[in-house]
């Protein structure tokens, strides 16, 4: 659930879970709807970091959406109107997370989109290709492996979906991210339900595999009003004595574990932090993760609020890791991942390897709304030390890696391999 959770945990909230509603839940009264609508609109009006609202006439937006909200048939449609209103800002980190996402897990089992098949599917060479298979998942049990092309989900072809996203003429990273999220939404569903994938293996042979979606066990953590999120972290010492750590979210239970891993592998010749699929988390953790790699004070960048600013300042703590550092990224490395990667890149402390990130980098708050939904709204922007705005741009790799399906089928990880080569090159040059 590592890299997919990142994109999905909250994307699910805003997309897939909108489709679910707890059975028997009472709808919002007209008065409560007005209250919720007003609160959502006002939070943006009062707290958006940009008083020009990204060029949007926010008062006109209210006039446009108030009647739609009042006329919406049912809560799902109402929350959809709110999401559409926030979408007018054309920025990340403005979202409505519906109440169904917060149902107690036991109550929700099988009634919300909590079932997964353990596959990460990304655009590779223009096709939807499995890039990761979670150990123990139904995908693995069915023999699906990285490099397999998924052409249909439940009989529906993916090619038109890819084409629809292409027509939006987005940045390549955003195009890949949207395809990834859309495929993800099709793969997920109520736990226990089944999903049929039409797959192309080596050559042109095709087969259909039917997978059972399962609720993934594991450590979960709920921070404030965010939904409970599953934590995933992996550390190992790679061949060539290179330290490696991968984690899926920037949340506090992982902070000490990440630092401990870096300490325990301080004798390695280089270090790799794998942020592929890491959808972000607590902003302050960016400087917490960066700290062990600095021997002098530094700043990863600055976020600007409507009133004031905050530096992502790093203060050295004891003996740092002085060896070369590589950060692995892809289109699903978002938010805090981009803060960390972008800052380390500009400071010259790390080489960034992989594919451009999604460019969704606005620090935000998540607040409970009357009726149980949550509002996520951006309250700041973020600029790198040189003043580059990462929202809508993302982090561009120093070493871009064009992943090929054949490499995945051969059991290789080209992005990781490129990072290992970069570290080997740096250490041999020294």
């Amino acid at each position: 659930m590592n890299r997919r959770l990142t994109v999905l945990a909250l994307a699910l909230a805003a997309l897939g879970a909108l489709l679910c509603r707890p059975a028997g839940a009472a709808g919002l009264s007209p008065a409560l709807r007005r209250q919720v609508f007003d609160l959502v609109w006002r939070r943006v009006y009062e707290r958006h970091y940009d008083p020009s609202f990204n060029g949007v006439d926010w008062k006109a937006v209210r006039a446009k959406y108030a009647p739609k909200a009042a006329a919406a048939k049912g809560d799902t449609a109402f929350y959809g109107v709110l999401q559409a209103m926030l979408g007018e800002l054309k920025q990340s980190h403005f979202a409505i997370i519906p109440p169904s996402v917060y149902l107690a897990e036991d109550d929700a089992r099988g009634r919300r989109m909590d079932g997964d098949v353990g596959l990460v599917v990304q655009l590779v060479g223009g096709q939807c290709v499995v890039t990761r298979v979670e150990p123990g998942s139904s995908g693995e049990q069915a023999g699906v492996r990285p490099g397999v092309v998924v052409t249909h989900v439940d009989g529906k072809p993916l090619a038109p979906l890819v084409e629809r996203v292409r027509k939006r003429k987005l940045r390549p990273a955003m195009e890949r991210l949207q395809v990834m999220m859309a495929v993800r939404a099709r793969l997920m569903g109520p736990s226990g339900s089944k999903v049929a994938l039409r797959c192309l293996e080596d050559g042109a042979s095709a087969r259909t595999v039917t997978l059972t979606r399962a609720f993934e066990q594991g450590e979960r953590f709920q921070f404030g009003e965010l939904p409970p999120l599953r934590l995933d972290m992996e550390t190992r010492r790679l061949d060539g004595n290179i330290g490696y750590v991968r984690f899926n979210l920037f949340l506090m239970p992982l902070m000490d574990r990440i630092r401990q891993a870096i300490r325990e592998m301080s004798d390695t010749r280089g270090f790799i932090i794998d942020l592929r699929g890491n959808g972000g988390g607590m902003g302050a953790m960016a400087w917490g993760v960066a700290t062990p790699f600095f021997d002098q004070r530094a700043s990863l960048g600055t976020m600007r609020l409507r009133s004031g600013n905050m530096n992502f300042a790093v203060f050295p703590q004891g003996e740092p890791f002085r060896g070369p550092l590589a950060i692995l990224i892809d289109e699903a490395s978002l938010s805090t991942s981009e803060v960390l990667a972008g800052g380390l890149q500009e400071l010259g402390r790390a080489r960034i390897v992989g594919r451009a990130t999604g460019g969704m980098v606005l620090p935000s708050s998540v607040e409970r709304l009357p009726g149980g939904a949550r509002l996520q709204y951006a309250v700041a922007d973020f600029r790198t030390p040189k003043g580059v705005l990462l929202e809508g741009r993302g982090v561009l790799p120093d070493i871009p890696v064009d992943v090929k399906r054949e490499e995945l089928l051969a059991g290789r990880d080209p992005i990781l391999e490129a990072a290992v080569r970069a570290i080997a090159g740096e250490t041999s040059a020294q």
Partner: protein, 264 residues
């Protein structure tokens, strides 16, 4: 007050939600105009800044009551209600100039900040331990001064009453205190009770600059000195937190070592 900036940063989350960034519009429209606040002008008697401070001291217990205190331990709860976060806060003060705050918030961890009489320091789960310098050091040392209100004229280079304002329908004096280092602190002092009702300051330091506004309420006497038992603060206009004091003890022995900068 640097601790607020770390707390604010900690409470901001960056996981990407469902709304996906799209192409930005080419041009930005001008900012939405906001109507200017119109407040009726209160009519309070003219008063000098020091007279106002003296009235505040008197209203909260009197100089003699303050001077009987040598240490204070304050404990309470801390809540960021809108974001579903809560925790505890402890404040230790010892005359003449030692100070420690300990904030612990679920999902964030423990944040400490102290002054041992000379050195000001901070520790949090993200930054680790660091020594404060410059404006931050000066600000913290002012905060560490025990019974600081009795020494306002020493702590601030300039004290002025900049005007009068209404707050919750009550007339207030607006007192501006400008230190030698750092930005001014503005305090609203109720024109009848002479209690401080609101404080506005700007934190400054290597971690940024942020406006912190605090509303002080529910004053209760403890050992003859009135203490606000409830504080509602807004950091950077985005994070609203409520501190509720649950226990105040004065003149309790506190080891000096409590205020020392941690090794790590």
């Amino acid at each position: 007050m640097r601790r607020w900036i770390v707390l604010a940063a900690a409470l901001l989350v960056l996981p990407a939600a469902g709304a996906v960034a799209q192409k930005r519009p080419a041009a930005k429209k001008p900012a939405v105009k906001r109507p200017a606040a119109t407040k009726p002008a209160p009519k309070l008697p003219a008063i000098t800044p020091q007279e106002l401070i003296d009235k505040h001291i008197e209203a909260t217990g009197g100089r003699e009551a303050y001077e009987k205190l040598t240490s204070t331990v304050m404990k309470g709860t801390l809540e960021v209600k809108a974001q579903g976060l809560s925790g505890t806060i402890e404040i230790y003060q010892k005359a003449p100039d030692k100070f420690l705050t300990v904030q612990s918030i679920g999902g964030v961890g423990e944040m400490r900040q102290g002054v041992d009489g000379e050195t000001a320091w901070a520790k949090d789960p993200f930054t680790g331990v660091r020594t404060l310098e410059g404006v931050e050091l000066a600000t913290q040392r002012r905060a560490a001064r025990f019974n600081a209100i009795l020494h306002a004229s020493e702590l601030y280079d300039k004290m002025e009453i900049t005007g009068q304002a209404m707050l919750d329908g009550r007339p207030q004096y607006v007192l501006k205190l400008t230190p030698k280092e750092g930005k001014p602190i503005v305090q609203w002092v109720d024109g009848k009770t002479f209690l401080i009702t609101k404080t506005e300051m700007t934190t400054q330091g290597p971690q940024g600059e942020m406006t912190v506004v605090m509303r002080l309420m529910d004053y209760r006497p403890v050992d003859g000195v009135k203490v606000p038992f409830k504080t509602v603060g807004t950091m950077g206009g985005i994070v609203e937190l409520t501190i509720t004091v649950t226990d105040v003890k004065n003149n309790v022995p506190i080891e000096d070592s409590l205020f020392a900068k941690p090794a790590s």
